[in-house]
Subunit: 302 residues, 2 copies
């Protein structure tokens, strides 16, 4: 184990999570031993919190962003953007936060539609969002290729998805951002449910600018092992959504353990953001810091 490297990454995570004192001594016995497992890149991994604003206490976005900064968050995840997108750049800059990503949905499944005109329309819409993501310094747009229970075979939707990525991935890369494929639970999207599948789609596309996301709420029912899922995702993992498995509330608010989640992220040397996309059971002002503390403990234990 390169202890110096591990301490360095621990120190960086520590500065992000300054609210906690335990982070000053992050090396547990298991973590120290684990660092020598073949392929394990935990020495460079960092725990960097972000969130969508719904989870955060406060009224105006400016107040929420200020609260986030003072509670150790580093970035905010926003939605699809209109012409006033640069307002977010100012808001985030003023608060001292980065913009992690734009969570944009599926554009009504247009990009995988059988109608070439609709696909073209979807491509154009995604391009606009990628340009805006780039201008905002965001790592990507979180995108779902096809929602619902399709009446077409999987291979056909996949073919259209790979073709789309081949064309738009390089466009995303030019704008220093990514198209981030999000696998969902079957109730929301049958086409793409597992991180390993999303990663293989990126591999098939074989271009820059394509990435995957693991959403712990969806993974809870669709993956057999969160550690394995993130290892399969590997370098393609550019964002993580956090929600617990049973109620899609804050991690730590049910019995869903996030240790394997964190072990997977550490193993792949994850340095991008992990961000809340979930509800809150109780008072946000109290519950959100508790959840961050819970995640930090899981990170250390992993």
């Amino acid at each position: 184990m390169k202890r110096r490297d591990f301490l360095t990454s621990g120190a960086i995570a520590g500065s992000a999570m300054a609210a906690s004192s335990a982070i000053l001594n992050p090396i547990t016995a298991s973590a120290a031993n684990a660092a020598s497992f073949p392929g394990d890149q935990r020495a460079k991994a960092k725990l960097r919190m972000c969130s969508q604003l719904g989870v955060i206490p406060g009224g105006k976005p400016e107040d929420k962003l200020k609260w986030m900064k003072s509670h150790g968050f580093e970035a905010v995840e926003i939605g699809g953007q209109g012409n006033d997108y640069l307002d977010w750049k100012k808001r985030a800059d003023d608060a001292g936060l980065a913009i992690a990503s734009l969570c944009i949905g599926s554009f009504g499944n247009k990009l995988t539609d059988e109608d070439p005109e609709k696909r073209k329309q979807g491509f154009d819409e995604l391009k606009v969002q990628l340009e805006r993501a780039g201008a905002l310094g965001a790592n990507g747009v979180v995108y779902v290729p096809a929602t619902g229970r399709p009446d077409r075979p999987n291979w056909r939707i996949r073919e259209l998805t790979v073709a789309m990525l081949k064309e738009l991935g390089p466009f995303a890369a030019e704008h220093k951002t990514h198209i981030i494929l999000e696998p969902l639970r079957r109730g929301e999207a049958w086409f793409l449910r597992q991180v390993s599948d999303a990663a293989q789609i990126c591999k098939d596309a074989g271009v820059q600018g394509v990435a995957v996301l693991g959403d712990t709420y969806h993974m809870y029912t669709e993956e057999t092992d969160d550690f394995a899922a993130f290892v399969a995702g590997g370098e393609y993992v550019k964002h993580v959504h956090l929600g617990n498995g049973t109620k899609r509330q804050l991690p730590g608010q049910d019995n869903h353990s996030f240790v394997k989640t964190m072990r997977g992220l550490k193993y792949i040397g994850y340095v991008n953001f992990i961000g809340y996309e979930c509800g809150v059971n109780g008072d946000r002002e109290i519950e959100v810091p508790k959840s961050v503390e819970y995640l930090r403990k899981c990170w250390e234990e992993a």
Copy 2:
């Protein structure tokens, strides 16, 4: 690390692979350190070779089985069986080998057909093979739910597959054997391509007697990471097919590394058989022992 446990498992693997002397000292620095990684069950993992007969030198099955025994193999994989299936029990017993599994294919995709009559026929055929597998002491029948490029949506074939497993898994368990789902390359089967997907199907079925297989030839194009794939498979992994990724020949005959394969199997504490299902480039008498030696080195390095 419990070194005693590791030595024990090494010794057992050693007795199986008596042709090699290096196995007497199997602990490498990386393996010893790796044993303490969270969740790693390598202390109980064993390398146990089997093969289909096509790979093995010799003419008559009896001669091939004898050759296998004298070259450190522990078991043989056979095909779907007719009424004379007990002949295989005698042949294997005479050679001192176990029967690992029956590789039976898809039964023309009958078990996932939309016609209930055809499904019933498929169920009956699979039941017969499961009974015979049980009588032969085999760990399972290797089965493909749907081959080719389906014209139906994935969720529908999956629904029929899970329903089939719910009914026949317990039947398999009664006969002390398993239905082992085999993911294939997209050219052979679009429905099921990844080990993680097969494992999740088993999880959804939620019954005894269901399992998955990883075939390294198919995994080469369909998985981003063989280690992750086997970890996702976890306890569901009951058999492994071996073939290299570029030509489906013996492992070691191309540049496809099997270290991650072995790392995954060690991590999940794999104790079932791994068996050749591939071609051979060159003289079987020389090349098969070389490949076994190559796999053993990968196992040690993993």
